[in-house]
């Protein structure tokens, strides 16, 4: 089971409280996590990645085991701690605005 931490606005949109737990088939990558997340929570389609290009939205970041993986390949295998659910996959909104 993969653990995903959403930014607060997306938790509200998905009507979930804390972390989200989803089944993700191996290999566990950013793409496979986001595909599974959007399958379980279709209202999140387009909010994290562009609908068509599937590119990460500019003001979002992906944090993995205390490292910024935002610019890594979406198909790169994620660390074992993510795949086993020991550590969550963080989706972070950039700090900006008023």
């Amino acid at each position: 089971m993969i653990r995903v931490v959403l930014p607060p606005h997306l938790r509200t949109l998905a009507k979930v409280g804390g972390e989200v737990e989803i089944d993700v088939a191996a290999p566990v990558t950013q793409r496979s996590i986001l595909d599974a997340l959007e399958a379980c929570y279709p209202m999140l389609e387009g909010t994290i990645r562009d609908h068509t290009t599937k590119e990460r939205r500019a003001f979002l970041r992906f944090f993995v085991c205390a490292e910024d993986w935002s610019h890594e390949s979406p198909d790169a295998p994620l660390p074992e701690d993510i795949a086993t659910g020991k550590e969550p996959f963080f989706i972070i909104g950039a700090i900006a605005g008023g």
Binding site: H9, T12, L13, A25, C40, E45, G46, F59
Partner: protein, 392 residues
Amino acid sequence: MSKVRVLAGTKKGAFVLTADGKRDKWDVSGPFFGGWEIYHMKGSPVDPNRIYASQTSGWFGQIIQRSDDGGKTWDVPGGEKLPKPGELPSGGPNKFVYDVNPPSGKPLTTHQWYDGTQHPWEFKRVWHLEPSLMDANTVYAGVEDAALFRSTDGAKSWHEVAGLRGHGTGPKWQPGAGGLCLHTVILDKSDPNKIYIAISAAGAFRTDDGGKNWKPINQGLVSNYIPDPKAEIGHCVHHVAMHPNKPGVLFMQKHWDVMRSDNAGDLWKEVSGNLPTDFGFVIDVHAHEPETIYVVPIKSDGEHFPLDGKLRVYRSKTGGNEWEELSKGLPPNNCYVNVLRDAMAVDSLDSCGIYFGTTGGQVYCSADAGNNWMPIVHDLPGVLSVEVQTLP
């Protein structure tokens, strides 16, 4: 007794304001979608409990929300279903994808960019939602970059009405200060095939065949901020209004100038008359008097606030040219708010109610056609849009 429901979209969420027919005591609910920009909300004329909302964010993009209980609860159409584990997303909710030319797969057209070069269309947000007059599941969306979309399944999926962008003048459209936005959609109950739209900064357009073919309807507009002031395309139309029982008579608040057309937009004439300034954003028509219209004059394109810091609505009972100031109950001085293009609405009670919202977070109501005003709320986030529903 009849009641009214005011739908206020703001910079930080949506609010639903309700009152009985006296319109002197109000219940305020919200914020819904707190922290998100709500560009527009509008109820279906067919099913008033069906309300559509445009929720948008620089971080998370465009969301369409729908309520089927008059604004109490909301869901993303098409987003509520939970597919089986491992099933891939269906690719439906909130998806606005511009049409491409089927044979080539290439974009229909490009538009003019700020520097005069051609630029591809890039979807940014939904400015305006216009529910069908006949079917609660059909709704139009005016979007930035300017295009018209239609959903026929209650906003679960959207398809571009591509004839608008494809009719030929697209390369001349250019973004105004607020972006290249399609902000006005008017449906004609006397002719379901006739639709009017307006774009900043391209102008007004009309289809007579349900969206297949479109024509610019900007003859008579004069805009001194474009190279050819009388050009067919390029006018910064801020808003257009039409009384439902007087189809073909249109009123326009342009960047500068208040205009009217008596022939469905084929020719416009200026009716700014004695207005203290004819710059502004909103314009609307009295529910029972098709020649009574309202504007909120704003000082200038460089100073988006009321002249002399005095907030005033102006009313013409003659379809323009002769205007009277309406200011009872409005701030007489030190008021430097703006009233944005979709932030005025009228109810259809016997004594017509007029409503408008400000960038300072006030929503004002007049229960007597503009003679007297009172604030419904003082301190909302900046108001982007106001609509009102008259309920039994």
